[in-house]
């Protein structure tokens, strides 16, 4: 008879449901650990509350995750490779050629171009990470910083160039003078020879550094 079946079904299901919720109620004593995805026991410890009270606590993110870009401008040779490979054109570089080699990066690559402007618009960035792959001096990296939301979208444009206006005009004038001088030498070859400076962009040869490639299983 379905009448008594209904009663027993109601009792059974209610008992089971209440047992289940009570189990969860008491398991709230435990908290899910804030483990990195890289942790070996990431999928253990499913018991307990899952809430991460974000501004007060964070789940650790991988160091090599694809988050905010950072450019170590002192190591940047302004080769423009990153801007060229960027699928969404979020890197904006304004180079000024130097008249001569003005320094070396930390890996020994000669610096021949000044970066008047090195802007990365993270609002446009698609986080593909291609720019960090092509970077010859590995100065452009993705950091583990992911919380950089701003009220104004224009604040998502991060500038890495650290030249002042004065320096920029100075370097520009210097280069123009140099060019003009070269022009006069070209038109008048009999005049005194100046030491040629390689102005080719490809002149800056990076030191070859083998990258560790991830092993495939």
């Amino acid at each position: 008879m379905s009448y008594f079946k209904n009663i027993s079904y109601a009792l059974r299901t209610t008992r089971k449901g209440l047992a289940l919720t009570l189990k969860y109620f008491f398991s709230a004593r435990f908290r899910r650990n804030s483990k990195s995805v890289a942790a070996a026991n990431y999928f253990d410890g499913e018991k307990g509350t899952f809430t991460v009270q974000y501004p007060n606590e964070e789940i650790p993110v991988p160091d090599h995750g694809r988050y905010k870009l950072h450019n170590e401008i002192d190591d940047c040779i302004v080769c423009d490779k990153c801007a060229k490979i960027c699928p969404v054109d979020c890197i904006d570089i304004e180079p000024i050629r130097a008249v001569e080699e003005y320094g070396k990066t930390s890996d020994g690559t000669p610096l021949r171009i000044h970066a008047a402007k090195f802007d990365i618009d993270m609002a446009k960035c698609c986080f593909c990470g291609l720019c960090t792959v092509v970077c010859p001096t590995e100065c452009l990296t993705m950091t583990n910083e992911f919380d950089y939301s701003t009220a104004d979208i224009l604040d998502h444009n991060f500038s890495f160039g650290k030249m002042t206006e004065k320096e920029i005009t100075e370097k520009r004038n210097e280069f123009e003078e140099f060019q003009a001088k070269k022009e006069t030498i070209k038109s008048n070859p009999s005049s005194e020879k100046i030491k040629p400076v390689s102005l080719k962009k490809t002149g800056a040869k990076p030191v070859l550094k083998p990258r560790p490639t991830p092993k495939r299983k």
Binding site: L20, T21, F25, A28, Q53
Partner: protein, 333 residues
Amino acid sequence: MLTFVFYLFFLLIFVVFAVYAERKTAAFIQNRLGPMEVGPKGILQTIADLLKMLQKEDIKADAVDKLPFLLAPFIVFTAVFAGFSVLPLNAYVAGSSISGGLFLLLAIISLDVLGILMAGWSSNNKYSLYGAMRSVAQIISYEVPIGLSVLCVVLITGTLDLQEMSIQQTGSGFLSWNIISHPVLLIPLVIFFIAALAESNRTPFDLPESESELVAGYHTEYSGFRWGIFMLSEYGMMLLLSIVATIIFFGGWNSPIPNFGSLKLYEWTSGMYWGTFWLLSKSLLLVFVQMWVRWTLPRLRVDQLMSLSWKYLTPLSLLMLFVCGIWKLWLVS
């Protein structure tokens, strides 16, 4: 008079912390943390909410029927709170000494349906009216099983006075509770508990204010303090019915610990303050069970609600009344 003062303040404090407990219970059952920001572990969250609620504008829509609209929350609260007048607090403080106390309590708390209907009808809003209609249908239907299940207890104890009922359960801890000394009362207890959930419009019987269908049911048009009164009455009803269940089934203010030989545990845990403590802690445990049920069971459909009351609980409680009568005859002979 003393119980009135005590229960009024206890009710107000209870509501503040019951709302917090409700949210925490929900959170824990759902693997969340619940309120955490205001005060340590979010304990002051309800107080912050309360302050916000009291500052809200008392909105009266143009089309509402003013007098019933303004009066309804107070009728609901008065009806519920009047029920507290007959409750004893401990062995020495007995509440209103009416010999038909339990009967008065059941009669007077069913008046709250009048306030709910007033609120729903005068709001001039289809959701409110639907909510009120459902509430009336539900509360009137569940009056029958709740009355019959209480009648089972009355039949066995032979009194309607709640203090007298508590005194009968004095003696040897939990062994002298009605539910233990008269095991036939187990089914009336279940019926009483289910019907009490329906009476206080709690999930799974929260059709009158089912958020997913009716916005907020009969109190859709209410805001600020008047809405707060409805909330207070709802939690008041929960507490009231839990205290009644405690008194009629679980020994009221009697200590649950029996004596062990020379260890006079029962006497040590009895007395004025102990009695109040036992009564309230047993009741709050039942309130927790109500919350636990709320976060376990989904809401019933209207026809399921009616069939549960009329096809299952009412016949069963009539049967149990018969069984309890036989039990009483067997006890007497």
